[in-house]
């Protein structure tokens, strides 16, 4: 199977869906002529032309609102946020208009928009550019939230997101863009809301998603080799809808849980997971639910310290050892 990068996988998904459906439009800052701020959309303008690949001014509220309006009339806009961090200036369009229009119209209107872009810390760009808003987004009924960790997942999930009739928010990761993974040449889609057990284990379940999957897999290697601990890694892939059955099955098998997330701890995705695990698997737990999150402060700039603020393999190992103690 060919090895391609996470970035290329996303690009291939865009190209395939642009080819399949003439209503798909890719829009955002620097997506066309500049070939993408992170080169995700590299070459799409040359292939699909300026009607399908559209450069916007720096007007997130304006162009995302425009996408929401266009989607009500049947366009399938795939909007790129240069950073998901910039969602704050388009909050009203994203979470009032896209999220609520179906409900407030009594189900008469759909909003099949995709908003995608990177949402991560770890690149020394400071607090304004390092937000991870998946918890904030997923707090809004009516929306779907996807956070892929691998090239294979990113491609299959983005194709599903573009075909979905509800608004889907797709959170990528600048640090993963260059990571290679096996991606089949034949077309495939991955349904939203399906978790993936990325490593099978017996002693403890790590529930995680996004780049923390990669950290957790690295930690699991070390834990197996040096500590004889067998860790199962469940990658949620989609935050909402949530494949909680896969989480439950794993917890019932290992009886111990660590949630690993690149989120600020308060009211995070992990908070919700912890509630659900205790509610539905209380009797299966051999110990309290543990969590490893970002250290609770705005993202620090200082490069080596930021690495420590975020979850990383070393911190995951420590957290697992604490949970096993």
């Amino acid at each position: 199977m060919p090895q391609i990068t996470y970035r290329e996988a996303i690009r291939h998904a865009l190209a395939e869906e642009l080819t399949r459906d003439p209503n798909v439009v890719v829009m955002g800052e620097e997506v066309a002529q500049f070939n993408g701020a992170y080169k995700v959309t590299d070459g799409l303008l040359a292939t699909f032309g300026p009607t399908r690949i559209v450069d916007t001014p720096i007007s997130e509220a304006g162009f995302i609102g425009l996408g929401v309006g266009a989607s009500m009339l049947g366009i399938r806009p795939v909007m790129e946020l240069m950073f998901w961090s910039f969602y704050s200036v388009a909050f009203d369009q994203i979470l009032n208009n896209a999220a609520n229009v179906r409900y407030m119209s009594g189900g008469q209107i759909n909003c099949p928009i995709v908003i995608r872009g990177p949402a991560n810390g770890g690149t020394s760009v400071g607090a304004t550019h390092s937000h991870t808003p998946e918890n904030v987004l997923a707090n809004h009924p009516g929306v779907k939230v996807v956070v892929p960790a691998t090239a294979y997942d990113a491609k299959g999930l983005l194709k599903s997101a573009i075909r979905d009739n509800d608004p889907v928010f797709f959170l990528e990761n600048t640090i993963l863009y260059g990571d290679k993974g096996e991606v089949p040449e034949a077309e495939y889609v991955i349904p939203l809301g399906k978790a993936d057990v990325k490593r099978v284990g017996t002693d403890l379940t790590i529930v995680t998603y996004g780049r923390c999957v990669i950290h957790s897999l690295k930690a699991a290697e070390v834990l197996a080799k040096d500590h004889g601990i067998s860790v199962e890694v469940v990658d949620l892939r989609t935050i909402r809808p949530l494949d909680f059955d896969t989480v439950l099955a794993s917890v019932k098998k290992t009886n111990r849980v660590l949630i690993v997330e690149e989120q600020k701890p308060f009211a995070s995705v992990g908070t919700q997971l912890a509630y659900m695990i205790q509610r539905e698997a209380f009797d299966d737990l051999d110990g309290p639910i543990h969590r490893l999150a970002t250290i609770d402060a705005p993202a620090i700039y200082s490069p080596p310290v930021e690495t420590e603020q975020l979850p990383n393999p070393g911190r995951v190992i420590k957290a697992v050892l604490a949970a096993m103690a």
Partner: protein, 371 residues
């Protein structure tokens, strides 16, 4: 790409012409007597609907509870704007507005029964009791709401125009907003995108002089529509108390959108007689005398009635009959709303996701809802 904001600049001078002349503008001269009467009828239907809704708001239902909750922003006094604009709609023309949306909803042809039922929070409401007064929608009538956040609907309206252009349809979107909304950033982002991309949208500022309790003089620098010039857009301004005048100006702007795919901004002067919403005591920011002045001299329904009587299109008797029918319609809308059932708690989680409403076609897995 048109670069001079001059296409419709002469309309300002035109609006200085005596109001009665607007009946002679080609778009109005072409109206049959029946069509003239329909314009009048729609305005009076809006007025009677809203008066009835206000009585319902102030009254109690048979079990002693409230009929209508929350906000009720009445359009009374502004009817000629929505009726004039929406009367020009062709099959590819679309409308979006803010929360003061009852007039637009009736003007695009929505049935008043589900509109009243929506106010009552009933399942028979146009949004199944899920939207309320501020959130009316009728995609089958090209009406895309009904939006509660000041200015937030304007990028959406621009997106409707984008879709028309993308799909090669010859039509226009009308994005209505209040005089207060022009100070929202989203509106300016939308102006720029519309002009930059040559989108067929008309931004309609309904200038009723106040944003809640703040007068235009206390909130906005400069002439509102003139801000269009900064975006190389044409703009026009007119008096909104005469439905013919509204139509005469809007016809030009809609034509610019449909024929040349150029956006423009229109500022229509109007006035609301009632408070901002029903909870506004309306005694802090304007005088009773000012309200009376408008009511007595510029009421759009009276202006229209006098013209139709003078034109011989209506008689006192036929006008009375239209009014009686409008009152009866409002009354039966209230009866319908009153007699309709509320949604049940089981309805709360319907209409959230397309997928949860279409389980047979659902492609995603996992839990969509949480408790």
């Amino acid at each position: 790409m048109s670069k001079k904001p001059s296409a419709i600049a002469d309309t300002k001078a035109e609006s200085a012409v005596k109001a009665t002349d607007y009946a002679l503008a080609p778009i109005n001269a072409a109206l049959s007597s029946t069509q003239r009467i329909e314009l009048y009828r729609t305005m009076i239907r809006i007025r009677r609907f809203e008066e009835r809704s206000l009585r319902a708001y102030q009254g109690k239902n048979p079990s002693g509870g409230t009929n209508i909750g929350g906000f009720l922003h009445l359009y009374i006094g502004q009817e000629a704007v929505a009726v004039g604009c929406c009367s020009l709609m062709g099959k590819n023309d679309h409308v979006i507005t803010a929360y003061r949306d009852h007039g637009h909803a009736i003007a695009v042809g929505m049935d008043t029964k589900p509109l009243m039922a929506e106010l009552y929070g009933k399942i028979t409401g146009c949004s199944k009791g899920k939207g309320g007064s501020m959130h009316y929608f009728a995609p089958d009538k090209n009406f895309w709401g009904g939006h509660g956040i000041v200015g937030g609907q304007v990028p959406l309206g621009t997106g409707l125009a984008y879709a028309l252009k993308y799909q090669g349809k010859k039509g226009a979107a009308m994005a209505f907003m209040g005089d207060g909304a022009v100070n929202q950033g989203a509106v300016h982002e939308a102006y720029n995108l519309a002009s930059l991309w040559n989108l067929p949208v008309v931004f309609v500022i309904e200038n009723n002089g106040y944003s809640m309790g703040t007068s235009q003089a206390r909130s906005s620098a400069g002439q509102l529509a003139k801000r269009a010039e900064g975006y190389d857009m044409a703009w026009g301004q007119c008096d909104g108390h005469d439905v013919y005048e509204v139509r005469a100006l809007m016809d030009k702007h809609l034509t610019l959108a449909r024929e040349q795919s150029r956006p423009s901004t229109v500022e229509i002067d109007t006035y609301r007689y009632r408070g901002h919403s029903v909870a506004d005591p309306d005694n802090t920011y304007r005088t009773k005398a000012e309200i009376e002045e408008y009511r007595n001299k510029k009421d759009p329904i009276q202006v229209s009635l006098h013209k139709l009587l003078a034109e011989g299109v209506l008689t006192e008797a036929s006008a009375d009959k239209i009014d009686a029918e409008a009152r009866a319609e409002a009354e039966s809308a209230a009866d319908f709303a009153d007699a309709s059932p509320y949604p049940t708690p089981d309805d709360i989680q319907k209409d959230v996701y397309w997928e949860s409403d279409h389980p047979a076609e659902r492609k995603s897995e996992g839990r969509l809802f949480f408790d």
